[in-house]
């Protein structure tokens, strides 16, 4: 069994690549912050034109912040094994004496640091241009729920990453298919309670839906929450543990299947 220190070293090195690469290729600042901020602003203006309550504008800003993390999980983490294979690095990672989860953790942490910048820009935009107000008293709880949501979300990302080990480009199609429905079901731009109980309950299996809903309740004082904050926080903690355990199992399972089928390191697959 690889030692914890070795795995943390590997994770921090993998995270470091993301941070350094981002600093050396500054065009991402435009594509990753300005363009998504414009999308979020567009939704705010639509609500404003429709005369929706002011809190809906705040919902959109928070949704925009969290969207960035979802996209990072999908493309910056889950699909990363596929990109690594394409670049010729996957063999090196897979035969190293470390856990696959440490590599994914490194990708997650490095990606989150970059994504945080995009989120901050959207948040500042919301406060400066659209005068979104937060409940100062609820920010600590909101931050705690944010961390729980991220843990569960990146656990889900690790599960998705395991699919890329086996299915390669095929898994990329599935992720593309998943991207837009998740926008709808997770309530990035509206409270999930509006979906109705059954659909909202189904959406709650996706950690961001619960996370956004709980953060809105704590940071904005929203009374349109789907479930009480405590219940949502408990469900998020349960999802985090579940996804982590499933991810560990799936990574091992998919790696073994890929090694059996000869698909682990075939570049064209």
């Amino acid at each position: 069994m690889s030692s914890l220190a070795n795995n943390l070293r590997a994770a921090s090195a993998r995270a470091w690549i993301r941070v350094v690469a981002a600093n050396r290729e500054l065009s991402w600042v435009f594509f990753e912050t300005f363009l998504p901020a414009m999308t979020t602003a567009g939704y705010v203006l639509v609500y404003r034109a429709l005369g929706a309550p002011a809190e809906y504008e705040a919902y959109v800003i928070l949704g925009g912040v969290m969207t960035a993390f979802w996209l990072n999980v999908l493309w910056g983490m889950a699909a990363q094994f596929f990109w690594e294979k394409d670049m010729g690095n996957l063999d090196i990672y897979m035969m190293a004496p470390i856990s696959r989860m440490s590599i994914l953790l490194g990708m997650a942490v490095g990606g989150m640091l970059g994504t945080a910048m995009r989120s901050v820009v959207i948040l500042v935009l919301g406060i400066a241009l659209f005068h979104v107000r937060f409940e100062i008293g609820g920010l600590a709880a909101a931050f705690g729920i944010f961390l729980l949501s991220m843990t569960a979300l990146y656990g889900l990302g690790m599960m998705l990453a395991s699919l890329f080990l086996l299915f390669g480009r095929g898994a990329q199609r599935w992720v593309e298919v998943a991207q837009e429905p998740v926008y709808l079901m997770s309530g990035f731009y509206f409270p999930i309670a509006n979906l109705g109980f059954t659909a909202a309950a189904i959406a709650s299996a996706f950690p961001l839906a619960l996370g956004i809903d709980a953060i809105r309740q704590t940071a904005l004082g929203s009374d349109t929450g789907f479930l009480p904050v405590g219940v949502e926080a408990g469900a998020l903690a349960a999802l985090a543990v579940l996804f982590f355990l499933l991810a560990r199992r799936m990574l091992r399972l998919m790696e073994n299947r890929a090694k059996r089928d000869g698909k682990l390191t075939l570049k064209w697959q």
Binding site: N6, G88, N89, D91, I92, M95, K259, T265
Partner: protein
């Protein structure tokens, strides 16, 4: 001490699922391979592209399961003890384009060192020493996306060396390198082995001269099976009975096929190339005594000898004898 590498009846079959009415197909990439490589050996696996060399290496590097049979590295089973096997190995492939273009050579090597539990201090110390040793010190700050093929492969070799593996797998390490860089790379490999006599290298190549120059022992692999395994000298000695000659003639235009079919020539193999009005015939005879007869047959067809030389037996000749075709022919027929 257990063998560095040991395989018994190792087989890997690739199965292709049936599609559009075509039946399921299977391909034996590695077929019933038995190998035993001792610590300290530089062992060569020779064969054309598609012979099964890379598949065998990927199995030993824990990247691929065998279909059947057993493989051990340093006495550890590559399936059951794969995590412990990974602590003892590393692999470098020829033509490898790994790494992140925006990182410098030194940064890239540090990142990969972190996968093997080296502290940053120890890693940078080893990296700087090796960059200096392998002539890359001045380029330590060059980004990966600006490296030439040769510089990149030197960096890849350092990546393999720096973690101090007990067993290093080199898969076609000089593939695509020009002669000068390839010679340097072979020097690096020899130097690394000389630093510690317990280190083991399994090197695959289809450059037979490279294997002859570098390896303590070689195995010839063809169509997934090991056809011969011994020291290069012993393999050559075992096939020295044949006499290989090369004759350049004028006046023999278009007659090479007749020579090949001429029973009086007594050749076991004959190849001919025509260039600038001269025919170069390379042929294998059972012994030197048969040469006079063969030359007479060429003269009878109008050939005038410009040059005659006796060819020393090489691993290439051994391969031809064992596989019935040259490496180039084997690669062409597998395309």
């Amino acid at each position: 001490m257990p063998p560095a590498i040991r395989t018994r009846n190792l087989t890997r079959i690739y199965r292709k699922s049936p599609k559009r009415g075509a039946p399921a197909a299977e391909f034996r990439a590695v077929d019933d391979v038995d190998l035993e490589i001792q610590p300290g050996e530089l062992f060569g696996l020779l064969g054309p592209n598609g012979a099964g060399k890379t598949t065998l290496i990927k199995i030993l590097c824990t990247l691929l399961f065998p279909t059947s049979g057993v493989a051990e590295v340093c006495g550890l089973d590559i399936v059951k003890d794969c995590e412990r096997v990974r602590e003892k190995i590393n692999m470098v492939s020829g033509g490898e384009a790994s790494g992140y273009g925006l990182l410098t050579i030194r940064e890239q090597l540090w990142v990969f060192s972190q996968l093997y539990g080296l502290t940053t201090k120890e890693a940078l110390s080893r990296i700087d020493r090796m960059l200096d040793q392998y002539g890359l010190a001045a380029d330590a700050g060059t980004k990966i996306n600006r490296l030439s093929t040769g510089m990149r492969q030197k960096m890849n070799l350092i990546r393999g060396f720096m973690t101090g593996p007990s067993v290093l797998f080199l898969d076609e390490p000089t593939l695509g390198l020009d002669a000068h860089i390839a010679r340097q790379a072979r020097g690096f490999i020899r130097d690394w082995m000389a630093e510690d006599r317990t280190r083991t290298i399994l090197l695959t190549t289809h450059y037979l001269a490279e294997a002859q120059e570098l390896c303590d022992r070689v195995a010839i692999i063809h169509q997934g099976r090991i056809r011969a395994c011994d020291t290069p000298a012993a393999l050559i000695a075992a096939h020295r009975g044949d006499a290989v000659f090369e004759v350049t003639l004028t006046g023999l235009d278009g007659q090479a096929e007749r020579l090949r079919q001429d029973a009086d020539m007594k050749v076991s193999r004959l190849d001919a190339d025509v260039a600038a009005g001269r025919t170069t015939v390379r042929f294998t005879l059972p012994d030197d005594a048969a040469l006079t007869g063969a030359l007479s047959r060429m003269a009878a067809l109008g050939g005038k000898i410009v040059n005659l030389s006796k060819h020393e037996v090489t691993l290439e000749d051994v391969f031809v004898k064992i596989a019935g075709q040259s490496i180039a022919e084997a690669e062409k027929s597998s395309e």
